[in-house]
Amino acid sequence: MLIELSQVSKIYNQGRANEVRALTGIDLTVEQGSMVCLKGPSGSGKSTLLAIIGCIFPPTSGKAAIAERQLARLPDRFLTLHRRETIGFIFQRFNILPELTVLENITLPLLPLGVAPKERRQRAHELLERFGISHRALFPAGQISGGELQRVAIARALINNQPIILADEPTAHLDTTLSREFMAIMLQLKAAGKTIVIASHDPLVFEHPAIDRTVTIQDGRIHVP
């Protein structure tokens, strides 16, 4: 199993007045090469669950093993090191830095890995070509269209050839055409062997035929109908 969570809970600001119990007793496994959708209303805990799968922070309690590594009590630094080898993120609104060029945005994850400029450019150009946006490489990311931006965001999540792709409400700000295109690309990635987890309450996503399984979250728990 690439992702294995058992009895995972997350409490924000534990022990303080603003304590929030975001997740309770989550059991979830995702096998390699499958695509899972986390569905649920806003505030149900989808992003928190993605953050744990994405090695941003460990669970408050319970066990989380991502790509064979137990997260519990892993120091911050090792979480980061593990994250950049394992996880590719696609964010809501894509979180692209508008002043950087498309090329610079895509290669951001490679800088702290010590990848030399030439190899960075080469890897980026392969992806840009694959997504048909080579001609935009040197444009400031703030100046390209929404569809191109989406492909830049996906390319960035793939640049280090990470096995797991996590997407947090990727279609929340897209029209139907772009949402469909997004899912089409996800299907390609799945076919290429990526493991994909998407948090979304967009029917275009969770009803998409490429989704292997939909997990409903409610009030921080997995909802079994």
Partner: protein, 400 residues
Amino acid sequence: MARHNLEKQLNILEYALSSLWRHRLKSLSVLLVFGAVIFLLASFQMVTQALSDKAKQVLVHTPEITLQKMSAGRQEAIPLAYGDKLAGIFGIRRVVPRIWGYYFDEVRLANYTVMGLEVAEMPEGARLDTTLAKGTMPRPGDDAQGWAVIGYSITNALDLAGRDTFSLFRPDLSLKPFVVRGEFSRDTDILTNDLIVMNLADARDLFAIPAGLVTDLCVYVANPTEIETIAKKISETLPGVRVLTRPQIQKTYQVVFGWRSGFGSICLLSALAAFVILAWDKASGLSPEERREIAILKILGWETSDILAVRFWESVIVSGLACLVGMTAAYIHVVYYAASLFRPVLMGWSVLRPNLHLLPRLAAGDILLILAFTVLPYLAATVIPAWRSATVPADSALGG
């Protein structure tokens, strides 16, 4: 692993450069303010250092006590016989007569300083012979006449590159010839630049000063700590004679430059400027855009230390450039523009020496001092607030 680390630092450096470029307006204004501070500080440092070097040179060759006869508040010739009256004062090593005057060259419209000395009589250490670029001063016992040792301005003014003889006019417009037997080295230029040293008898002849008179008497003492006591005794023995001591002259120099206080206030100023930069940077520190950038970088696998390294490189680049620009500008200002911005402060000096040529030594210590006063505060001011980036959680880049 080392290669990987180097490659990583290069990548981070590259990112810092592109970040500076993206915020070029802010970078440029910091660079300008910072460069100006360094320029001021370095200029002042170079000027005071060059001046105090020169003052030291002058003082080395200043007799411990100089006697001049005053009449109606003006200096006039002093009888050699006055020297004999000092014979009774204990502690005087030697009294050496000197004719010090100015020669106006009507052809070239230039003023030369003429110094007639009994070189052979002067005590060890008071002679100027250590500062010759070529030629020699007469040895003790050598009372040759008709020679001259000249400064480089004189060489230029009289166009003596290809020959070694020249003539000056006596007051009656007859010509007096000289043979150049030496030239002063340029590093004593403040003292020797426009100087013609000659035998006392030649100077007397040139200026037509009657036998038995000179312009001043140089008194050398056996024990420098007794200068003041001896000066007092001389004043009592020879009323109407101005007695100048080396410590007095030294004090005059210090008062004229006022450089200690000046340097102090510049240091204060630069510390203040660094503080302003700090405060400004703190205030404009983590904008929403910066927070967003940091969160994105973190979630993409940048460590907090990598983000700090970006800030560090940015600061190093800005302060390095500011140093380079500021110091170069300061050097040009001091050497080629004779520190003209500081003219008001240095007024005293330029009155003393109108065509002042300053050539500062660029000592590593001075550069380090300037760096310590500017770059270190700046690095601290920019990198320390960057620690706040550690408090930006990576998950703030996720959708709510």
